[in-house]
Amino acid sequence: MTADDRTPDDVPFETVSSSEVTRGERIRATIDEWILVPARILWSDWRARVGTLIMLLYVLMGTVGVWLVDAPQIGEGERLIPPFTDPSYPLGTDSMGNDLFAQVVHATPPMLEMIVAGALFTTVMATIVGTFSGYKGGRTDKLLMMFTDILLTIPGLPLVIVIAVILEPREPWVIGIILTLNAWAGLARAIRSQVLTMREESFVEASRLMGLPTRTILVKDIVPGLMPYILVNFVNSARTVVFTSVGLYFLGILPFTNHNWGVMMNLAYTTGGALYTLRAAHWLLVPMAAIVLLSFGFILFAQGTDRLFNPRVRARHENNAGANSSDDADENSGKVSTHIQG
């Protein structure tokens, strides 16, 4: 053992540093750990890659797109121009001469706002209630879960409709939250049961015994373990928000104050007679395509991200040459030992 060649007072316990690391180095290390490594891992899975690209496309559309594409104007073009025929109206126009492409683009920012508000509300709410309830246990847990169970069984859409009818929300972020009013309950329950198991993990108990505050334990030990789950559900609830909001706009339940793909569908369906004539079909199909593509991106991303938080995959993508080589050995011998045992 190495202890033999040390003098008794050379106890590692007293060691302090003799060198300084520059601030820049530390920042670079942080960036590497939190941005570059996850990005590399995402990129290595085709599903996550395609999903990310699709999501990026919509983000660009909702930010840069609105500057590049003028807002649609009534009568700016001929009525019901078919798609892909007129370069000024790439996706054609509706029965009032509105540019459909511009409508799709200008519906994106409020939609993004709704998605972010709704998905954030769902995941944050669920994570807080789930981790708190699971980690605390006891009476707190019982009461919170009773409340959650009730919310869980109330069907979402009718509840949302009733509340939307009563409140008539106009702000996109308010709509986003209303749409996910009880969507968090299921996630909270799932997170709670995971926390219940994690709470008993040795490393969590060790942190507890070291006297680390509950806050720190939740943030450093518990939540990172739930991150894959939370992220996947963030994306899933984003999809729920898109589906529900478009559905409600389509039904005409939400007030038509924003551009929305659902509003386009509603107008095409009710006033454009898209059901009866093939001439107006594209008016209906364009917003549909916008929804399907976005939600396709969401699902692909969710399917591809489970690798993101796997430390085994992570270690392979780190810039640390030393750890890199030994990891390969470890991982492979791990594989072998499972073969041997299994």
Partner: protein
């Protein structure tokens, strides 16, 4: 297959390999290799193995994890998992005149061979059963799949279950999760024997169980082997466990056999350096403490097995010949049946003496213990409520009370070592956690340097030592090395967390340096490399060192080591225990060491001049100096534990356990009087009525026992009738619902 073809082929590689042959083989394995294709090259996890299994013998196969011993087991049934490929020859002789080429069978023939002729028991009984069907279904579908007569088959199943001290009706109707680990494992053995096979291959069948349960199962296995004329291949990492059971032992190293021979020969006269080191590395009750030594180095990687003799990097005898060429098997002392694959087998016994070595001496630190206890437990009770799933009405349910700890008093001094020993579910982990203020007792008090811990926490009365200080002073090292580190954080982050919180004066660089120096101190060098790793990139021993460092960074007064070495390989245990003791010296800390293994407890507590406490069903039944407990156990239960700790004795047959029931009673409803009376061979009527206490009869100040047999002759125990346990049904009368209250145990 004929013997000629075999000798003709292998003569080129292995000189006198025929020495491993036996007169009446039931299984012959020739040049068997298992390979996996991997990115880094071919992984050879079984390397040209030649071995015969004698009819009706018990063959013990011993090796460290990753030595290929499980592959050997799978190969015997041609059951290597995909994508592994098995090559070579395996011949099965149902009787001496017939031979079956196992690797040349049609799928249907193979299906009949497995379970009807050769059957297998796996390590994890829990995971070997379908969780959604009853045990009965498992038996029935097996009987049906092989077209055996159902009534006859089930009758045999019941007989087997009774042979294994299980109640057939209860077990058959149960779902797997409703049985305790020991019951599951025994049910699995019964399931593997239901079609009356000739050969039973057991792959670490008892590794996940308590020592006592392991030994009980082994003694049952011995009976079964005789009763049903079985040939048993018993695979384990635990040499002493199988030493008494096996007729022959085969030691595996780096995917081939290093030494094969009769069990007593291997134990008394081991010739391969690896076998010798393995024997020395194993803590047991008979060897003097100074003679136990860890094996240096690591087992090889299957992709990159060293050239020449695969053991040479770790072998003290290695020379150029060993590095260049692979040794053949040499017959030891011209005996027919004892062979070793080593060039220097004749020198091994001189260089690697099994007796006094003299080099490693441990500082005796008996005198350093203080007079005032650091932690003191007085009449502590811990009762858990067993609640139903959190729901609306469960508030009104009457919960069952689990008596995890009942009325225990214990003092732990500075620089002290106390080892708590007992079976799963005896409450030793709960008692440990109570001592380090991780578990609030339901009765009694826990004090840290005369400050009541929970008063400090609740702010009751005058708090002299704040709870934060107490919290820091009492730390823990967990059983499962993999689980005790956050898998998502690097070693450095895990180790810095406590420093960040408690030593706010330290800057990032100081923290880093301190972590590095600690890593280096425990032999994890270069520290920069280890600090940047995730836990899964460390071996079990390394993970455990990191966990130990993390506890020590708090500069604690007491560390609870909860089965801290049980999950490690046998050869690593001594090494880690040595490190812990060495760190005790440096850091002035005390240990509460919890183990189900009496020899580990003895090694740990004995080397530090500490005490051993024996727990049974929530009570300490005997406590005293380590060597005293080992040499002179007084409580019948301590004697049982000592029995369960297999020594390296081979002549003595596996005896019947000195206990009248294998399964531990339900802690929800512990037996009246002396809790051990239901299993105690010495129990008399008085034991069922009265409870013996640890203090009342002072036989010896240091060594205290809670048993009426230590009371003087006037006690009514000596007058009362022995409890009748003549009927075999009694063996499981109290084995009801052996729930284990510590699931991590």
């Amino acid at each position: 297959m004929s013997d000629n073809s075999f000798t003709g082929r292998s003569e080129a590689t292995k000189a006198d390999v025929s020495a491993i042959q036996v007169d009446d083989p039931i299984l012959e394995m020739r040049d068997a290799s298992v390979t996996f294709d991997m990115d880094r090259g071919e992984s050879r996890v079984l390397d040209q193995v030649n071995l015969d299994v004698q009819r009706n013998e018990i063959l013990g196969v011993v090796g460290e994890s990753g030595s290929g011993k499980s592959m050997f087991a799978s190969a015997l049934l041609d059951a290597v998992v995909d994508p592994g490929t098995l090559s070579g020859d395996i011949t099965y002789h149902p009787d001496p005149d017939r031979s079956v080429d196992v690797l040349d069978l049609s799928p249907e023939q193979l299906r009949e061979l497995r379970w009807e002729e050769i059957s297998m028991v796996f390590q994890g009984a829990q995971s070997s059963f379908n969780p959604t069907t009853t045990i009965r279904d498992h038996f029935e579908e097996t009987i049906e799949a092989h077209n055996y007569d159902m009534a006859q088959g089930m009758a045999h199943a019941r007989e087997l279950l009774e042979d294994l001290y299980l109640e057939p009706d209860r077990v058959l109707d149960a779902y797997p999760h409703e049985l305790s680990g020991g019951m599951q494992q025994r049910a699995l053995i019964a399931l593997s024997l239901v079609l009356e096979p000739n050969v039973l291959v057991m792959d670490e069948p008892t590794a996940a169980l308590d020592l006592l349960m392991q030994r009980s199962i082994l003694s049952l296995l011995n009976d079964l082997q005789e009763k049903y004329d079985l040939t048993v291949v018993f695979i384990t990492h635990d040499l002493p466990l199988v030493a008494g059971l096996a007729d022959r032992l085969a030691v595996m190293y780096a995917f081939e056999f290093a030494e094969v021979g009769p069990a007593d020969e291997i134990i008394r006269n081991p010739t391969h350096p690896y076998t010798r080191s393995l024997l020395k590395a194993v803590p047991n009750l008979d060897t003097p403490l100074q003679e136990m030594q860890p094996i240096e180095g690591m087992a090889p990687d299957p992709v990159d097995v060293p050239e020449g003799c695969s053991y040479h990097p770790r072998c003290p005898l290695a020379d150029d010949v060993c590095r260049a060429s692979n040794p053949a098997y040499h017959a030891v002392d011209d005996s027919d049946d004892h062979v070793a694959a080593c060039f220097h087998w004749e020198q091994a016994s001189d260089v690697l003496s099994l007796t006094t070595d003299g080099e490693t001496e441990h500082a005796e630190i008996v005198g350093k213990q203080s007079a005032d206890p650091v932690v003191s437990l007085t009449d502590v009770d811990v009762h858990f409520e067993q609640e139903a799933d959190g729901g609306l009405l469960s508030i009104f349910d009457d919960p069952d009370l689990v008596h995890a700890v009942d009325d225990v008093s214990l003092d732990v001094y500075e620089n002290d070592v106390v080892a708590l020993v007992g079976e799963s579910g005896c409450g030793k982990t709960t008692l440990g956690k109570t001592s380090i203020a991780a578990q609030r007792p339901t009765g009694g008090s826990v004090t840290y340097r005369e400050q009541d811990v929970w008063d400090a926490k609740d702010g009751v009365g005058d708090v002299e030592t704040p709870f934060e200080a107490i919290r820091r002073s009492l730390q823990m090292v967990h059983q499962d090395p993999g689980g005790s580190l956050n898998p998502n954080r690097k070693v450095q982050a895990s180790l810095e967390a406590p420093l960040k919180h408690w030593n706010t004066g330290m800057d990032a660089e100081d923290r880093k340096e301190r972590v590095f120096s600690m890593l280096e101190y425990v032999g994890m060098s270069p520290p920069e490399d280890y600090a940047g790793r995730y836990p899964h990139q460390l071996s079990g021993g390394e993970q455990q060192r990191v966990a130990l460092i993390r506890a020590l960074l708090m500069n604690p007064d007491l560390i609870l080591a909860d089965e801290a070495v049980s999950a490690l390989d046998v050869s690593l245990r001594v090494e880690v225990m040595d490190l812990m003791l060495e760190l005790q010296d440096v850091f002035d800390t005390s240990y509460l060491f919890i183990s189900h293994n009496l020899s580990n407890a003895r090694y740990f507590a004995g080397n530090a001049g500490g005490r051993i406490g024996v727990m049974y069903l929530g009570e300490i039944v005997e406590i005293g100096p380590a060597e005293e407990i080992i040499a002179n156990p007084k409580h019948p239960y301590t004697k049982v534990l000592k029995w369960s700790t297999a020594d390296l004795e081979v002549d003595q047959d596996v005896e019947e356990p000195p206990i009248s029931s294998i399964d531990i009673p339900d802690p929800v409803d512990p037996p009246s009087g002396c809790r051990f009376h239901t299993r105690c061979p010495e129990a008399r009527e008085a034991c069922a009525r009265q409870q013996p206490s640890l203090d009342e009869h002072a036989s010896d100040d240091e060594h205290r026992v809670a048993c009426f047999r230590e009371y003087d002759q006037s006690h009514e125990y000596w007058e009362s009738e022995p409890i009748d346990d003549g009927e075999s049904t009694d063996l499981f009368a109290d084995g009801s619902d052996a729930a284990e209250i510590e699931s991590d145990d």
